[in-house]
Amino acid sequence: MELKLYDYIGNSYKRKNQYLHELATIEDEIAHTKGAEKSSLKKRLKELQANKANHPYIQKLQKYEEAEKQFLEKLKQEEASFEQTLKTNNARDKKLHIQYFKAAKEVDFYQPFVDLCYDAELKYRKAVVIDEQMKEVIDHLERNLKELSDAKEALEKLDSTKESEGKKAFSEKKKDIEIEYTKNLNSLKKKKEDGVISAKALENEKIQLVSKKKKDIDLLESTLIPSKYYKELIESKTYETTKAIKHKLAVIDDNESNVLRTTPIEIDKNIKWYPVASCLIPGFGQYLNGQTTKMILFLIGTFFIYFMALPYTLGFGNYQADGLMSIFTLADGAPKIHKSIIYMIEGIISLFLILISFAILLVNYKDVKTVSRNTIKGIRPRNWFETKRNIFEDGFPYLVSLPAFLVLLFIVIVPITTTILLSFTNMDPKHQSKFQWAGFVNYLGLTESDGMIGRAFWAILGWTLIWTLVATSLAILIGFGLALITNNERIVGKGFFRGVFILPWAIPAFITIMFFSIMFARQGILTQILNNITGLSLDIKNNSFQTRLTLIGLQGWLGSAYVFLLSTGVLQAISADLYEAAQIDGATAWQRLTKITLPIVLFQTAPLLIGQYTFNFNNFSIIYLFNSGGPFNPSVYGNLAGSTDILISYVYKLTMDNQQQAVGAAVTVLISLALMVFTFIGFKNSKAFKEDK
């Protein structure tokens, strides 16, 4: 126990509880002495504790507590009779009156006890705040309530002759305003014609005139027409009696919380066990600490854990499975219609529910621990007004991102986890409904280059890498080269060329790919033309090499537009001074290209170009839409894939066409890992991440 008490900014206060003060003093002395004296001090301490009930301070305190009890009972009765005398029928008005009434009594009662204990001081100071400030709020409220009811009455008893007179007067005066507006407008136009002001200035002045006119008319309307006047009055008074009062009460709340922060708490009992005792029941600790509204918030957490997460994990309320255990059993021994995949997914959901539950328990434990520790030090627990503010300030980022994270968890992370787990099972055509854990079998199968699956995998991986590198590089080369040529200052018709060159980017790729697929068919137009030129009879879609070549060319055609657009933007932004200076120094055209243009363009577009490589690595559309991954080549690929299939279309065929979900999942995991590593290297140096220190 410490000799002094502290508040949240570290101000120290002396103890008012003399008994605790003595206790702390002795404990302090024990800590600083050695040997024989220590035992005598300890004896004194024990005596003091044994005679606690007879301690003069404790007796005083008991008297105070008794007096307070009586006072409160009396206050309750007085409150009830005071309520009878109140004439208002506005609920809030009533409530505020009662608060004000009570505060005045409390000030009188608690004042003599201020020096006795901090609890009394707190109650006294709080009552003072209300006593001093509530009167003004009540007056404001009542004045406005009266004006509001007056206005409502006046609106009902509206004199129709006055109303029509007002309308007449309004329409007359309105004309004056309009005449003045036209006059001003004309003089402005005149000024413009004379060249005194610019067209832009005329526009701005006009906007101002229009808004002035509107304001004047509104003002006129509400002063001349009684019904309009009263309606506006009612609107403003309604605001005053609701929102304005709320703001005023918030100020009082704020002052109260200030009292709370600067009046320490002094407790006699041991509360160190609160966090541990309440760690399994969120809300209990908050109750012990006296934060009842916060308790309700945490009880929602308790409800979630014990009535949703835990039962689900144990198998209650599941769609088919048995909660967390189903990850291990995978529907083994379950009824025939039950599917292993559903068991797996429900098991994963259980796992995440458990993780969320642990997070809630952790937050709860930390909250109770902080509050209890602070209470021991002398800092009072926050009241609801402060907690609410704290949630909306510090908790704001969590609150607003929570929906996004939940969606991310269930729609992205759960499926990905399923895929990862699936890659360790034997889900294949023979094990569709029920499958078992199979360890690393799928991964081993992929690495063995003599098995059917492994052989296809390595062949596809090889082509995927070639495809990614060659097709992307070709697109970059074409795009950059074209940008460079078009940017030459001597070229005429830049706009036209630029407009044409971005077309492949602007037309949806799936349309172009499908159309090229038609044109490269055996009877297609392009095949016919190629046949006529070369004299061969080509059958592009049935020849592995030719299809691959065509695909690379097609991606060059498609991808170059994007690179062209990017590099043109950068090229246009390079200052001409750089080139002039280089020319004066005697640099050749080649040197200017390699020492100025290339570094600048590459530096600025590099991340996007890297993105192009990952894009093509996963470019399912072009492979599948052009020739469905074909032509087939059973001697290398079996019947699982074709010779232009890349990894992603291979996964598609494994999963969708051949029911080889487990192998497909293994390949997916490998692809994702490769992409992650690749992107991470690119991201590590990115601006968005670096600036974030």
């Binding site: 704001f396 996004a404 992205v412 070229i491 044409v500 077309l503 999963t655 994702s672 991201f683």
Partner: protein, 294 residues
């Protein structure tokens, strides 16, 4: 006199020597060849769409007769109008949902320093590298569970959910990057004047971020529009197809085969997108290059 003026060189560029002239000629040749390479296929597509003499297959040398037959066929004999409506529904829903989530997460990550921020940012970054097809098998099962519990939940909604959830990670990064480049003084000023966090979001962040939000919305709209894989996998009924999946049936299925109708349908989609991309090219590119990259 006349001869002399021919030799007079006027201009602020250096006169070209022979090599330069040849180079310029070559440049023009490259540009013109590439222009042909781009325009010729497009020209072919336009021609086949309007050529009444083409039948189910697009073949060369059949003569040309202008007609709207293929468009009529497209709207009357195929589900094209339905596909278009589906696509618009899916794309717009995806854009709206993505925007709702991302405008908040981008704001939170850009403006607040909270516990777990760095770790979750890292997690988001890793998640966004995983392609959305990774959860393919699970999507089916999840769909069958959800639709069993909630009968109104259809496959298109599943698709919308997948697209929007998949968009959260990447777009949060883009928006965060954009907001990071805007000074926080505005927020601070608003807070000193008594704005709550939500008010700062509504009155300061939303108006400032509007250009980037528009771009995010546009890309979220275009994503489902251009995608073939997921609609093909998730949607099983041709009635529910999107344009990409639907049009492919016109050139891949033996019984639905009608290549000129495909050309006509493709043309109808290409025209608005080309206009859109040409007008907004700068903004579309800026959306990609800010934030996540650079």
């Amino acid at each position: 006199m006349k001869k002399k003026s021919n030799n007079l060189y006027l201009g602020d560029r250096q006169p070209l020597n022979t090599m330069g002239k040849i180079g310029l000629g070559l440049s023009y040749m490259v540009l013109i060849l590439w222009t042909i390479a781009i325009l010729w296929p497009i020209y072919q597509m336009v021609m086949s769409a309007f050529n009444g003499m083409q039948q189910e297959y697009i073949i060369m040398n059949k003569g040309f007769e202008f007609s709207f037959d293929h468009f009529t066929f497209l709207f009357e004999e195929t589900l094209y109008p339905k596909w278009m409506l589906n696509t618009i529904f899916i794309s717009i829903s995806t854009a709206i949902i993505t925007l709702l989530f991302v405008s908040f997460t981008g704001f939170a990550y850009s403006r607040y320093r909270f516990k777990g921020r760095k770790a979750s940012l890292m997690a988001i970054m890793i998640i966004q590298t995983i392609p959305s097809f990774a959860g393919l098998t699970a999507y089916f099962t999840m769909y069958s569970i959800i639709s069993d519990v909630l009968p109104f939940f259809n496959r298109q909604m599943m698709l919308i959910l997948i697209y929007s959830a998949g968009g959260i990670a990447g777009n949060t990064f883009i928006l965060k990057g954009y907001l990071d480049s805007i000074s926080m003084e505005l927020d601070d000023a608003a807070k000193i004047d008594g704005c709550s966090n939500l008010k700062v979001y509504k009155l300061i962040i939303l108006p400032i971020a509007r250009p980037m939000l528009a771009i995010i919305a546009l890309w979220s709209f275009l994503g489902p529009f251009m995608d073939y894989l997921l609609p093909k996998v998730i949607l099983t009924n041709p009635e529910a197809y999107t344009l990409a999946a639907g049009l492919f049936t016109l050139i891949a299925d033996k019984e639905n085969m009608n290549q000129p109708a495909f050309a006509a349908g493709g043309l109808l989609i290409a025209i608005p997108t080309v206009i859109l991309f040409t007008v907004l090219q700068k903004q579309l590119i800026s959306g990609l290059s800010s934030g996540a990259v650079k």
